[in-house]
Every structure is written in structure tokens, then in C-alpha cells.
């Protein structure tokens, strides 16, 4: 394992030092492993998210005006703890309460749940929205439900814009929930990631195979299939998503994220094929993002997210945002 790290144990602490050094416009609470926005939040709802590290820029790259007020960083692939989340709530609550944006993994859900209990004991009102958009996973009472992936970015952006407009906690939570309900994702891995503390790839993937529907922690996907040209992969991703929800009669926000080890040129190649596949199905992409937004350490591959939007969601999408990984209107 060759990684730009000092030791597996210090990856998170070191990365947070790097975030602090690179972003004087953010406040980093090293003890609680929080990245906090310096943007004013007087009287408005504050947004908090967080999760295991290794998915950067998610979440710290989305802290700033118009998006998150704080991100809680867990160890690599391990959800943060309730204390961190409580400390974040205490740091950013401006009297209007906090919204917790939670990816649907048991660890994240349970820890944010405990945090909400603690916050309430401290007199901080909170709502939580759980993002569960990964169509690779069957959503049934027999599973922990779908994993949360790319839609998280869209929830953070759009709910952030709603909070910036001064909407109430219930309203911000409602719009966040609407985004969470309207987003679907599907990913593919060409290689496994390597967790620093483990030191070798999490799974073996032969040179002529790929993992369709992989999770962003290297969780196995739906099926392991022969490696294929970008255009076939694009079609499979689009089919998986569009057979789960109808996207043909609404403006769509498309997010194509690399998984950390895939260069941008490849993302553009497959995005061309995704755009074709969407057009063939009569789907209109109103807004798009292509790049690394939700990664899985050094995994090669990509994940596509589609959001069934509407005029209001697009308006909130277009609202100014000023974070290190997403910035416009500033």
C-alpha cells in the first residue's frame, strides 16, 4: 500500500490539519474533528452532516455559505460519534435549530440518533433527514434500507439554500426530505479501495471484471460482471436508476462522481455516454456536475446520481454557494 500518509492512525488528524492549512476561511475543531463554516448564520437554521472519512470532498468540502454549517469527520469509513455531532450542534445552532443530514448506514443513523437525543437534552431543536438513494440495494424491511450516496450532495446544497433563505427548521427539513426522496444513485467499481488501517485492497477484482452497484465503502454490489466499454456501463447505470423512478417528466440534476482513483478525462468519456443514454430515454438534464464529489478512497470507478427536480429545487440549486468543492454566485 502506497499512500501519501504518515500512519494509518493519524490519517484523519493529519487530513484535518491540511484542511485547516488550505482553508483559512473555515474553522477546524481538531479535538472534535469538526469543520465549521465561518459564514454568518444569525437566526437561521444550521445544517450539519458528517460520516466516515475517505469520501472527500464529502462532507468537509461542502462546508460554507449556502451549504453545510458543520461537518463531523469520522475515522476512515466509520461514522463519527454523537459527541462530535453534539459539539457541532452547539457550535452552529443559531437559535433556529439544526438539521442533521445523515447517510443511511446503520452506524451513521444510530450515532446521529444519539446525537439528536443529546441535542434535545441541551435544548437544541433538531430534525434529521436520512439519504438512502443507492438503487443497487433493495429497499425492504429485510435490509437496513438503501445506502446513502451522491444524493447527499444535492440535499446539502439545496437544503443549504433553503436555510440561507431563512426558512424554518420544519421547512428546511421538508425540502431536504423531498430531495432525498427524489434522488437515485448507482455506482460501479473497476478496482477496490484500500483502507489505510487494513493495508490491502478490501476486495479482489480480477482484471477483466467490475463490480456493478458497489458501495462507497467497498461494499460488494449487485453483480460482478465482465469489464465493458464506457457506453455499456453508462447504459447499465442509467437503466438501474431510471427503472427505479421515472425521470422523464421533470427537469433532472445529474451528478457524476469519480470514486477517487478515476481521472477526470474518464469521467467525461462516460458522461458523454450517460448523456446519450438519458437523451434516448427522453430525460432532460437541467443541471450537471462531473468530478470527484463522493469518493471511496482510491477506488477506480464512478457513481451516477439523478435528481428528479422541479422549479423550486432548481432555483435552490442555482442559489449562491461558497464552499471549497462547490462554488458559484460568490
Amino acid at each position: 500500500m502506497k499512500k501519501l500518509i504518515n500512519s494509518a492512525e493519524t490519517v484523519l488528524a493529519d487530513a484535518l490539519r491540511g484542511v485547516a492549512a488550505a482553508h483559512p476561511e473555515l474553522t477546524v475543531d481538531h479535538e472534535n474533528r469538526l469543520v465549521i463554516s465561518n459564514a454568518p448564520r444569525e437566526g437561521r437554521v444550521a445544517l450539519i452532516s458528517g460520516g466516515g472519512s475517505g469520501h472527500e470532498p464529502l462532507h468537509s468540502g461542502f462546508v460554507g455559505a449556502g451549504m453545510l454549517d458543520a461537518a463531523c469527520a469520522g475515522e476512515v469509513f466509520t461514522s463519527p460519534t454523537p459527541d462530535q455531532m453534539l459539539a457541532a450542534a452547539q457550535a452552529v445552532n443559531a437559535g433556529a435549530g439544526v438539521l442533521f443530514i445523515v447517510k443511511n448506514y446503520t452506524g451513521d443513523v444510530l450515532n446521529f440518533e444519539m446525537a439528536a437525543e443529546l441535542a434535545s437534552e441541551e435544548g437544541i431543536a433538531s430534525e434529521s433527514v436520512i439519504v438512502a438513494d443507492d438503487v443497487a440495494v433493495k429497499d425492504s424491511t429485510w435490509t437496513a434500507g438503501r445506502r446513502g450516496v451522491g444524493t447527499t450532495v444535492l440535499v446539502e446544497k439545496i437544503a443549504g439554500a433553503a436555510a440561507a433563505e431563512g426558512k424554518s427548521l420544519a421547512e428546511v427539513a421538508a425540502v431536504a426530505q423531498r430531495v432525498a426522496d427524489s434522488g437515485r444513485s448507482m455506482g460501479v467499481a473497476l478496482t477496490s479501495c484500500t483502507v489505510p488501517a487494513v493495508g490491502h485492497p478490501s476486495f479482489d477484482l480480477p482484471d477483466d471484471e467490475m463490480e456493478m452497484g458497489v458501495g462507497i465503502h467497498g461494499e460488494p454490489g449487485r453483480t460482478r460482471v465482465p469489464f465493458a466499454p464506457a457506453r455499456d456501463i453508462a447504459r447499465e447505470l442509467v437503466d438501474a436508476i431510471t427503472s427505479d423512478l421515472d425521470f422523464s417528466d421533470a427537469p433532472v440534476v445529474a451528478l457524476l462522481t469519480g470514486l477517487g482513483g478515476t481521472p477526470l478525462i474518464e469521467l467525461y468519456v462516460i458522461y458523454a455516454d450517460i448523456a446519450d443514454a438519458l437523451a434516448e430515454r427522453g430525460i432532460t438534464v437541467a443541471r450537471s456536475l462531473v468530478g470527484d464529489y463522493v469518493t471511496s478512497l482510491d477506488m477506480a470507478g464512478c457513481s451516477l446520481t439523478l435528481l428528479r427536480a422541479d422549479e423550486e429545487l432548481l432555483r435552490l440549486w442555482d442559489a449562491p454557494v461558497n464552499t471549497s468543492a462547490l462554488r458559484w454566485g460568490y
Binding site: 463519527p80 460519534t81 444510530l110 450515532n111 444519539m114 435490509t143 437496513a144 483502507v195 487494513v198 460488494p220
Partner: protein, 215 residues
């Protein structure tokens, strides 16, 4: 050969568990690689290392305080599913523990039962879901049966450890319905659940420490 659960016994339990979980970390992580995200060993090691240094610097003065210290440390240092679930276990054991200095075998069973109930309320897992509950449930049954049958704390603890180990092994063919492994559906069968394996280690360590056979 302990006849009651004292603060000293509990402390030795947790310290010895830290040693054994450290030794088993790679194995637990390997289990978690197969059907999860390859961090269970690291998580448990981080949590128990933190508990040990907490016990070193601020030794708890009573049983409830002890359970709270262990629970809070797990909650605040581990993260993930196991951090909040094992944290809840100990926090709820602390809430259920009225005795300041020692528990009889029967009280120990009640306290442990309360902790496991807390895990179930938090995680909503049922037996057969392929989680730590599949080690805890048969262990509690065996513990209760042994004590009801008049066995000693040491013998009952050993029976509980045996049952936990069997329960953990028996998770292998199961299809996971809770936690990260549930995403795999049928592909989760054929692997032992990592959390059930760490539970078995904890309960085996308790039995060994109670019997005085631990290192």
C-alpha cells in the same frame, strides 16, 4: 474463582478484553471485509484502548460509574454501528445497575439482560438477523438456564461464552438483515458476522476472568 461481580472483576474483564480484541483485530477486520467495510477490528481496538487509558487516568469508584465510563468511551471513541451499540450495551447496564460495589450472579444476569435489551431497542435486530444479537441472545439464555439450574457464576459465565461462540459460528449461513452486511442480500451468507465474533470474545473473556484462568 469469583462468586460475585466486583468492580475489580469488571475492570480485569475489560482490560483483558482489550488485550484479546487487539490480538483478534485483524481477524475481526477480515470478517468485516467479507461482508462489511473492513473496520470492525480497528473500531474495537480503538474503543478498548481508549477505555483502558480512561480506567488508568480516572478509575471509576462504583459499578454504575464503571459501566457509564465504558459506555461513554465506546460511544465517543468508536463511531460506526458497533460504537453506538456496544456503547448502549454498557450505558444501559449502568442504568440497570443499582449496586455500587458488587453484583450477585442473578443481578449480573439482570444487568446484562438490560444492556442487551438496550442494544435491541437501538438497533432493532432480531435473532437470526446476523448481528451481535445472535451471540448475545443464546448467551443470555444459557446464562439464565445455568443459574436457574443452580450453577455457579463461573460455570454460568462459561456456559454463556460457549453459547455466544456457537451463536456466532451459527451466523455463518445466515442472510444478514441488519447493518452493512444486509446490503449484500444472499451474498452475505457464508461468512461469520464480525460483531457476533467480538461479542463472543467479550463473553469468553468474562468467563475466563471470572474463573481466574485468564492471563
Amino acid at each position: 474463582m469469583a462468586v460475585a461481580v466486583t468492580l475489580d472483576l469488571l475492570e480485569r474483564w475489560i482490560r483483558e478484553s482489550a488485550v484479546r480484541l487487539d490480538a483478534a483485530a485483524d481477524e475481526l477486520t477480515a470478517l468485516d471485509s467479507a461482508i462489511g467495510d473492513a473496520d470492525h477490528g480497528t473500531n474495537m481496538r480503538r474503543g478498548f484502548t481508549a477505555i483502558v487509558s480512561k480506567l488508568d487516568t480516572a478509575p471509576p469508584a462504583s459499578l454504575p460509574e464503571f459501566f457509564k465510563t465504558v459506555g461513554m468511551t465506546l460511544v465517543s471513541k468508536v463511531g460506526g454501528a458497533s460504537g453506538s451499540l456496544y456503547g448502549t450495551l454498557f450505558l444501559d447496564m449502568g442504568r440497570a445497575c443499582a449496586e455500587p460495589t458488587e453484583l450477585t450472579a442473578a443481578q449480573w444476569r439482570d444487568v446484562l439482560t438490560a444492556g442487551v435489551s438496550g442494544v435491541v431497542s437501538r438497533g432493532h435486530a432480531e435473532p437470526g438477523d446476523k448481528t451481535m444479537i445472535d451471540a448475545f441472545t443464546p448467551a443470555l439464555d444459557a446464562l439464565g438456564r445455568a443459574l436457574d439450574g443452580g450453577e455457579s457464576l463461573v460455570a454460568a459465565a462459561a456456559a454463556a461464552a460457549d453459547a455466544a461462540e456457537r451463536g456466532s459460528a451459527d451466523t455463518e449461513p445466515l442472510i444478514a438483515r441488519k447493518g452493512r452486511a444486509s446490503y449484500l442480500g444472499e451474498r452475505s451468507a457464508g461468512h461469520v458476522d464480525p460483531g457476533s465474533a467480538s461479542t463472543a470474545i467479550l463473553l469468553r473473556t468474562f468467563a475466563d476472568v471470572a474463573a481466574g484462568t485468564a492471563a
